[in-house]
Subunit: 284 residues, 4 copies
């Protein structure tokens, strides 16, 4: 989990000196940051400079917690320690939008935040035949819709509907529902194999989940995590959150296969008509 | 509300002919599309061509409903009518990712989807003084964090935390929680005025909300919309959804003022410590 | 060709009134704009509002000229006419970066600037066999490199090297070399056909070229355009620039086929070694 | 300078094993890569995984050369060495579009390519007064145009016209003109200081320049680099290219001040009329 304060300095020379100071005193800063929590462990501080502005992107492991709160508190203490040693610098905002929390963005996409997870499957030719499609049919939908369509839309979602699965699971398990925004970024990749099977994968660079803290302790949400066998602290710590991240990615994979196949079989509107209207809650 | 199928044609010449055919037969297509629903009214069909691929972005008004379902069904019928008249074209997927549903993207940011709403306020100098800040202090946080930080992150959120407010309201009022992804895109703009007051605005290009259909009829969600005075169909139809969109944007504005001020006053970590820990639900 | 001034107004209400005024007085504004040039014809004015900021994106046809200069002058006169009738608004900058000139961006990618051109070809299976590759081999390079790699890079170039061809032709023919930046945005799409042939297309949404004005009249550059049969004004006006745009796109197509094939045949490094070093100008 | 091949593996498990193998054998791979050139020194190999695809982004220092050629050749040898030890992996393309060469993109923007350079200046209040503007006037143009306008355009150029200066210098000094595309990405940041002065900076994350190799040895281009005092190999090697990068950034800074001031003084159209038409080369 990450937090990136933005700091103002008089000039780019000060910016470089600040970054050098941080690199040279990393262990000191780490001790200060980690004094605020038993679970937050500082991994790295990645600097970004634009003119007389410096972002320091603090990256922590946070055990089984999603960890935004503990990371905010640890970064607050750490950055104030840095600035007390570097009086030419001034804290502008403890969150400088390079963290990046709750916005779709390229930093998390490339460098990760929370867990980076990939889930994959091979669907046998015989199963595809039962569904009335070939591997080529399905991969074509993925190429034209999820890759080409998303390229044209300049989207952070090269996928069909990661967000549906992510939002549902986040609400059900007490995650931060607003973090579904960047947690649902990612890429679906499908390719026909030589034997007629279909390879499918989903890549989620920035899945922000936890099994302790936040809303995970609410009764229903806790029960849901218990059903999945991942409630609370793992043994060793951190393993429950990792296992949960894998479960989420597997569910996302299933969702992608489902919707891309429905499109390949031209069933999307029909399914909405049958299932959406059956509930009598649709206005059409 | 929009839906954009992706269609394969043999060549770019066919692509152009298809687009011309659609333009020439717009009224016919409109009649077919609108035969599926009392509420869906086709406004326009915007074409995009990439090689031998054509996206037709159907844009409808949908009364007080968010309308994704009715638009999917209407587009399905319309695109099949088009293709029955243009046999050289083949439907690849009813949703071609140029709609764009549930992904952050440039199409909705520039061309809109759902409602495009702007909310603004002027905060008097006297109020800012009570809070211990100047208009310049607050605008500086917005410029360095929300504009410069988001520019560097290549983000679709030039804001502090639209997503927190959007996700909360969407869950509380029975909206589609996965649409918080693109509904929370947008820009916060702040500028100090000559008299020391602070101008603040939030711009939400793609806010997808409704007051009928979907989860709006569930008991708690319905009650919440009733409290806001926007449940059900407006008079004339569509006005409840517009009013609700304005309420959401006003809440987003309040959220931005709150967080940017908290950052300017260096209160973010302290607030998390006091309020986050008080609930005993935090893992730190 | 487009130019988009950014205008400040007191509030979003004024912004909407300004846009309404412009829509209602389009013909007047058009007359004023077109009084500055024989060639510039105003097609549309597309508004964008962010808080108390308004961008008016003026779109002109410009005959055979690339037209940036004439459009700047025409927009200057038009926007001043508008503001003289709307004194609550204030011009901040004649170019407000929504034009968009000389930066890669989503506006031109989606809405176009200059010419939007697509070039396509089918490469017969027999030719591919001579080159030692199948259609699948080549399409795989395009899918994994140009689509998937560019998706991950969050690039505006879903292609191999449009920029090499665009930059070379722009310098050779007296175009504005800095406009190679956005003119080289675009997508390469390849698909194997059922008969073993390979379909290839390149889509260039924002190719900014002219055959009169700018550097086209310099001796060598003029000669180059003459060799291509497109120097000067076309008959009717505009046709030379269109023909030239098609020639550029065809060259870009050839460049893509060349490089993607070289990669599929694993020849890139070898070619650089043979040809780059032969010129004795390489430092390795 | 960087080059990033894309490699196909059977599954994500193989992808992780490949990345682990590369990390464990970095020194071996470095020796192989560096055997191809006296100047290319391998700094790091950054991996990116999407499903069963792996990009290995090789980063080298290249002395005073821009170095694309030597890096391509070194990466070719290195990646083949890797694959000879890891037969489950297959090279798809030596350039996998995560390098990223000649396209605007987030990878270079965040992680750099070529040189990352910042240039800054403070313009005294007295000078601004002579020009008839205040620091606030100029900063306002930058905020509304270069930050807000570019945010809305989803641009990689949060600047006025880096590309004009970059393209001109690249052509004049024998650089690769197509690399102006990503070299001209970057951010202009301006802020009024308390004493009425104006702080200005330009940040160029991905400036790809060299003083040996490529077109630098051509007579005119060589003369130009000699005039700047940076032709050929520096002492120690690499210093000429760094000095040249600083010169380019300083020129870009001057260009930004010039154009933003011209806009603040409302002179853009007038300047085009006077200077563009004077040359008799404009078509208006």
């Amino acid at each position: 989990m990450t937090r990136a304060p933005v700091i103002a300095v008089p000039s780019v020379i000060d910016a470089v000196e600040l970054v050098n100071w941080v690199n040279e005193h990393f262990n000191e800063v780490k001790n200060v940051a980690e004094s605020t929590s038993r679970h937050a462990k500082l991994v790295s501080i990645q600097p970004f400079i634009v003119g007389n502005n410096v972002w320091l992107r603090f990256k922590f492991t946070t055990g089984d917690a999603m960890g935004m709160n503990m990371v905010t508190i640890a970064t607050d203490k750490a950055v104030k320690y840095i600035l007390s040693n570097f009086p030419r610098a001034r804290l502008v905002a403890l969150s400088g939008n390079m963290c990046v929390d709750k916005k779709a963005n390229a930093v998390n996409f490339l460098l990760g935040r929370g867990k980076t997870v990939i889930s994959e499957a091979v669907i046998p030719r015989s199963t595809l035949e039962k569904w009335g499609v070939t591997a080529e049919d399905v991969a074509e939908v993925n190429n034209r819709k999820n890759l080409l369509g998303s390229a044209l839309a300049h989207s952070y979602g090269f996928n069909a509907h990661f967000a549906n699965i992510i939002a549902a699971i986040f609400i059900a398990t007490g995650q931060d529902a607003a973090q579904a925004v960047e947690s649902s970024m990612g890429i679906t990749w499908m390719e026909p194999l030589d034997n007629g099977d279909l390879y499918v994968s989903v890549t989620l660079p920035s899945l922000e989940v936890g099994t302790v803290g936040g809303g995970t302790g609410l009764p229903t949400q806790r029960e849901m995590l218990q059903m999945l066998g991942v409630y609370g602290s793992g043994n060793p710590p951190g393993t429950n959150a990792l296992k949960f991240a894998e479960i989420v990615a597997a569910a996302v994979l299933a969702g992608e296969v489902n919707l891309v196949l429905a499109l390949a079989r031209d069933e999307l509107a029909r399914a909405h008509e049958m299932l959406g209207r059956a509930g009598k809650r649709d206005s059409t």
